[in-house]
Symmetry: C2
Subunit: 349 residues, 2 copies
């Protein structure tokens, strides 16, 4: 390292940053072998740009889709280059108006310790008393907006609806159930992959019922926990869950199709639901969406969900993993369902 390179905040020298790169594209479920650490030197920020030190980064299911070549709705990650994704950082050096050293920002350059970016790519965030800032990666961030828009706008939830959510203990699912409860659902049921999660759903989150999709057929278990049927299905997983929901739907039922973990990792095409034709007779609507189309709803979500958070009317969990070097494992574990609530990686502690 030469004399004009420095890692001290506030300097205008070069900054050494560790990052995680995509080493190879996974076939099926990813492993840690698909990732590799690297070290880069970042230049001092030019005019209009900022240097940010990341405090938290997000690992999300959609990232799995980006690891495939051209199969996702977002640009694929490039082999040999750093991954990216939601992160919260602190401004170290700013050459842009409106942002100063010390400010907290939300941006898209995760999977690395430091990032230099155009200041317009960062959004300044404020701490909320009693709420950890990492909430901006979860309940008050992209997952929160996904739950809010998916339930209220895409699935057109209305008071009295019976709601089923899959992946219910995850970052999005846990909020879907609680919003439905707060908005007057007649029944809220969910699925998850462990008894611990089931207990969390029916205990802390106030779901009416929940089941472990690993222990018996989803179709049978959904029929048991929702004997009168469902009006809304919030689909985080696809596959057998969607098939079960199609069976359980009452007339005019609606599915918000949010993700399909069961498909992301499939090496072979997964057959679709064999009962999709039920959509005709039951007049069902299935609608896919990407949260990126709905940022205009962010202020509504932060206002409404933020108020519930402050009043203790909804709760959320995080699974926090420490250290950039553990981000690949955190990502793989999240895909396997090891987390309750939002999975985040803490980079500074």
């Amino acid at each position: 390292m030469s004399d004009d390179t420095s890692n001290h905040p506030g300097s205008t020298g070069r900054t050494v940053s560790r990052e995680i790169r995509l080493a190879s594209r996974p076939s099926g479920w990813p492993t840690e072998e698909n990732f590799e650490p690297a070290e880069v030197e970042l230049p001092a920020p030019a005019e209009g740009r900022i240097l940010v030190r990341n405090l938290y980064m997000s690992v999300d299911p959609y990232m799995r889709g980006r690891m495939n070549e051209g199969e996702s709705y977002m640009p694929p990650f490039e082999v040999g280059k750093a991954l990216d994704g939601g992160a919260i950082g602190q401004v170290v050096e700013s050459r842009a108006p409106g942002l100063a050293a010390g400010d907290l920002v939300l941006h898209g350059y995760g999977w690395r310790e430091y990032a230099v970016m155009d200041a317009r790519q960062a959004r300044k965030i404020e701490e909320i008393l009693g709420v950890p800032i990492s909430a901006y990666l979860g309940v008050l961030g992209m997952p929160g907006l996904t739950a809010y828009v998916g339930l209220l706008d895409i699935a057109a939830f209305k008071e009295g609806d019976a709601v089923f959510v899959s992946g219910a203990a995850g970052a999005v699912g846990s909020l879907v159930g609680q919003i439905a409860r707060r908005k007057g659902a007649s029944r809220v049921v969910g699925s998850a992959g462990s008894q611990e999660k089931i207990a969390y759903l029916t205990g802390k989150l106030g779901f009416d019922a929940a089941f472990n999709y690993k222990t018996a057929s989803v179709r049978k278990q959904l029929a048991q926990v929702a004997p009168d049927g469902i009006d809304v299905y919030f689909d985080n997983v696809g596959g057998d869950h969607l098939e079960a929901a199609l069976d359980a739907f009452r007339p005019y039922g609606r599915t918000a199709m949010c993700g399909a973990i069961s498909v992301y990792n499939a090496a072979e095409p997964v057959p679709g639901p064999s009962n999709l034709f039920l959509a005709v007779g039951k007049r069902l609507t299935l609608r896919g969406f990407l949260v990126g189309d709905h940022y205009d709803r962010m202020p509504d979500m932060i206002e409404e969900v933020g108020a519930w958070l402050r009043d203790g009317k909804i709760t959320f969990e995080e699974t926090v993993v420490d250290g950039l070097e553990n981000a690949p494992k955190a990502f793989v574990d999240m895909l396997r369902g090891a987390n309750i609530g939002k999975m985040v990686v803490r980079l500074v502690h």
Copy 2:
């Protein structure tokens, strides 16, 4: 036959009527063995009721669903009892205000020569100059409304959309394509099951392109005829056609799910589309509907489609089969795709 039984119009005696009954529930594709003729005596109409002699009856794909036990969205047909469905008849005797002998009516008691019904179950229709009255079973009837509502309301067609319709030479499909054309579609393509039908679509009906789904993969052929993708898919068949449409959809594409002939006759569950997850990234909407929910749109449809018909701006075909005894064969042939345009059975000639 006793003296007080008479088959003469206008009498108040009993009327002998032939009818077609469901002899047994088909497994897979139905055959004529699943039907049986019978003869019944009808009483003279009581107060508020009418006696109708049927002139035309309809055979429609949805009837196949009703032949299964409890698997359809309408009450199943009962074994040993007459089938029913759309029919046009002439009032023979009326004991209800507003209807008189000689009036033409549309009603739901097909598959028989005569019917006695509550007058409120019959709708009086007027002949349109140059248009056969059987059109009220097709382009101006339930199939017409299905096409109109499915395209405009369910699939939310808008000017400039590229439209794909399967079963395009059928009663519904042929109208979907023509309405899309009249309403400013950027491209209209269809599939059908014979070269004769393909020629009909691209010739008389003005489709931009059409393909024979029997000669090569639907996926490949759709990609060829709609290289820039599609915005709307009007689904009359399900199965591989829906899968192909999911591939071909542009972002925000919409499917009106109208029927699934490929499913009605399947003895085993048919796997759903393996690419349904594309609905997320492309933000697709799939929506099933039943025309029976949309009778409020009938006046709009008759006004708009009726005007196009009078002005020669749309065309329609009928396949007319003579004789009640041939209705089972007509039905089976229709399911197999033997007809161009609406298949009807003429009972009086």
